[in-house]
């Protein structure tokens, strides 16, 4: 089993009456609510959390892309990943990911991901999400009726840009380039592992199977409610006669740990409440632009989202309800161990992406949770999914062959800073 420390980077300072005064946390939430000076502290705290996770032995540190919102403040996750590439040494860097249909031309993704892979010495996990409808359609104006075709074309172009060793022409429907010739190329050959975060589109299963991508089911409603989607994924793999390797799938679960179940509630409830009732405060009219999802996906039990997203997302629930219904896995290390063991067994996933920072949690609280997880949960669950080859994790350069940040030695520095000789000084 592999453990990924995944950050959403929410804005922590939404006002108390936020829900009454604003109809959504996303798309048209006025940016006058954003304070850049507080934002400066937040970004740095959040990067500190990810760097700490690297030091404690998490298998990756994760970031993602969202636009125009207070829920996740990374319009450009690659900037965060670049900062992490220099300040982490062991963990993979999971960018989950770049909404490839939004980059024009999409070879921008091939270039930036290659840069990240080269800087980090082959530690990149490359995420290719379609992106939420709010991000892609409402914020970035992508046409919902053609978004998925554009996504598929961008995917094909990026793969080819990483594969070909000579310049080639690309005459696509959405992108026309006379000369495609991406410099640099990734360290990981033929390409970094690609993960595809899925929300509610069943076509994503086949897409991942066709390309041997990792299917990462992202949900805030917890592992019990994810059973149907994950069962569907495993059934589809069986139907397509491909292996049932648990590492072909990842699941995102929010987790908080404290010394005891009782202290967990006391410490975490305000921040969990902030997340479910502010960060997920979404306007149903912009849940999904017409055409964003296929008719098949609309019919497949996800019809509720035609007009509404908030129904099952955990708003207006008590701590006890969120914990009992496993929206969050919360409590003492023993409680968390037991429930995550159950998650791993029932969903059969080999990759567990953990939301160990939630809502408005300050750094000390998040780091305490991270520490307890790394010392009291991770070691005991490591052996799950053993015996399967993980071909969805980076093939890094050997540590001995990897550059270290700030490698310049004192001796070199002394030579560089030697006094100027001659009259010109």
């Amino acid at each position: 089993m592999k453990f990924h420390w995944f950050h959403l980077m929410p804005y922590r300072w939404l006002p108390d009456d936020f829900r009454e005064r604003y109809h959504s946390v996303w798309v048209d939430l006025p940016n006058r609510l954003y304070d850049p000076v507080r934002g400066h502290q937040l970004y740095n705290e959040y990067l500190d959390m990810l760097e700490y996770a690297d030091q404690l032995g998490f298998d990756s540190v994760g970031v993602n892309e969202h636009h125009q919102n207070a829920y996740g403040m990374m319009p450009s996750p690659n900037i965060m990943a670049a900062a992490l590439a220099r300040r982490t040494t062991r963990a993979a860097i999971m960018v989950l990911g770049n909404s490839i249909a939004l980059y024009d031309p999409p070879i921008r993704v091939a270039e930036e991901f290659a840069m990240l892979d080269v800087i980090s010495g082959g530690r990149l996990i490359a995420g290719f999400p379609v992106g939420t409808s709010m991000d892609t359609n409402y914020c970035y104006g992508a046409n919902p009726a053609t978004l998925r075709e554009k996504y598929r074309e961008a995917n094909d172009l990026i793969l080819k840009a990483w594969r070909e060793r000579e310049p080639f022409a690309w005459n696509g429907r959405f992108t026309k380039l006379r000369y495609v010739n991406v410099w640099p190329q990734p360290v990981q050959q033929p390409r970094p592992p690609i993960w595809v975060p899925g929300l509610g589109s069943i076509e994503t299963w086949d897409w991942c199977i066709d390309h041997d991508y990792n299917y990462s089911y992202l949900s805030f409603s917890g592992y019990k409610r994810a059973q149907k989607m994950m069962d569907g994924y495993w059934e589809q793999r069986a139907k397509r006669k491909v292996d049932d390797n648990p590492y072909s799938a990842a699941f995102f679960q929010q987790v908080c740990i404290s010394d005891t179940d009782a202290s967990c509630e006391q410490e975490w409830w305000p921040h969990v409440d902030y997340f479910f009732n502010k960060c997920l405060h979404l306007y149903p009219g912009m849940a999904e632009a017409p055409g964003y999802r296929s008719e098949a996906s609309l019919r497949a039990g996800v019809v509720a989202q035609i007009g509404n997203t908030s129904g099952n997302m955990g708003m207006n629930k008590t701590w006890k309800e969120l914990v009992d219904q496993r929206y969050i896995v919360a409590g003492s290390p023993a409680t968390v161990r037991q429930q995550l063991g159950e998650l791993a067994t029932s969903l059969r996933v080999g990759h567990l992406a953990l939301g160990l920072h939630i809502g408005s949690a300050p750094i000390e609280l998040a780091n305490r949770s991270t520490y307890l997880f790394a010392t009291h949960v991770m070691p005991q669950l490591r052996g799950l999914a053993a015996g399967h080859e993980d071909r969805w994790y980076p093939t890094m350069l050997p540590e001995s062959g990897r550059a270290q940040a700030g490698m310049q030695s004192d001796a070199v520095r002394a030579r560089v800073e030697r006094p100027v000789h001659g009259a010109a000084a």
Partner: protein, 275 residues
């Protein structure tokens, strides 16, 4: 007088072309009716009134009703030529074209593209133009309950109540019948077609082309249109040579559903050659 009921038939435009459902009713000179983004779920409002004087042909765009083949129309030019394909397949020669809202945009574009092939033109609250100071409301980013007040002056009218009833199906609860699910999917499918050509801002350069229209043109607008503000009525009337403008009071965007009688009367008189 009992109104003729429409017949529905599938029109095959040939290999590699969309297959189109056409609703037809009435006798008389041909009238090509181009619907708006909500399609023609029912033969009500102004349509039966128009069919008392004209032979009304109402083709449904791919994605609406039983019409298929949206994937064969890539860009707006494909859509406009599709309009002419339909016109030819129906055997119409320089017909009277009536377009509402999105259909008004399409009718105006067709009349600008091939002016000699449109006999007369009536545009009811067409979209297609844009002014920053009076943005056309976002049809694709609102819940129905918030769109209805933009579409109707009198929200207690039957058409408004019907629309709100449908929107109540989009609740958090998952207790819909299969039929209701199919209804919601049909609405989403139609809006997908509209979005393909008009998302996120319904403006694609029509203003530059309006001067090419030579057909006698009538512009009709609801004084209380909340979706496309009446400012655009003047703009259309100014840009289309010789166009006549009629503004109806006490009516919103869906004129044909909210005040069918005075609206149909205007369309009929204009269609019969009154200037």
């Amino acid at each position: 007088m009992s109104d003729p009921t429409p017949t529905a038939r599938l029109l095959d435009l040939g290999p590699g072309r969309p297959a189109i459902e056409v609703l037809e009713a009435g006798q008389g000179a041909p009238l090509l009716f181009l619907h708006g983004a909500s399609g023609i779920p029912e033969w009500t409002g102004a349509l039966p009134l128009l069919a008392r004087r004209f032979r009304v042909h109402a083709p449904l765009l791919p994605g609406f009703g039983r019409s298929t083949g949206l994937e064969l129309l890539d860009e707006q030019l494909d859509l406009f030529f599709h309009g002419f394909d339909v016109l030819e397949a129906l055997g119409l020669d320089r017909p009277y074209v009536v377009g509402e809202s999105m259909g008004g945009w399409m009718a105006a574009e067709m009349a600008a593209l091939r002016p000699k092939e449109i006999g007369r033109l009536a545009l009811a609250a067409p979209i297609g133009l844009w002014r920053d100071e009076a943005p056309v409301a976002d049809l694709f980013g609102r819940v129905t309950a918030e769109i209805v007040p933009l579409l109707f002056h009198d929200q207690s009218c039957q058409a408004a109540r019907n629309m709100l009833a449908v929107s109540s199906l989009m609740s958090e609860k998952d207790d819909r019948t299969d039929e209701q699910v199919e209804l919601l999917i049909a609405i989403a499918r139609g809006l997908r077609t509209a979005a393909k050509f008009l998302f996120p801002i319904p403006e694609r350069g029509l203003e530059r082309r309006l001067r090419r229209i030579t057909a006698p043109t009538l512009i009709v607008w609801g004084a209380n249109d909340g979706l496309v503000p009446p400012l655009y009525a003047k703009l259309f009337a100014e840009r289309i040579p010789g166009a006549r403008l009629e503004i109806l009071d006490r009516v919103g965007h869906l004129i044909g559903l909210e005040r069918p009688e005075p609206y149909a009367e205007l369309l009929i008189r204009f269609g019969q050659g009154a200037s």
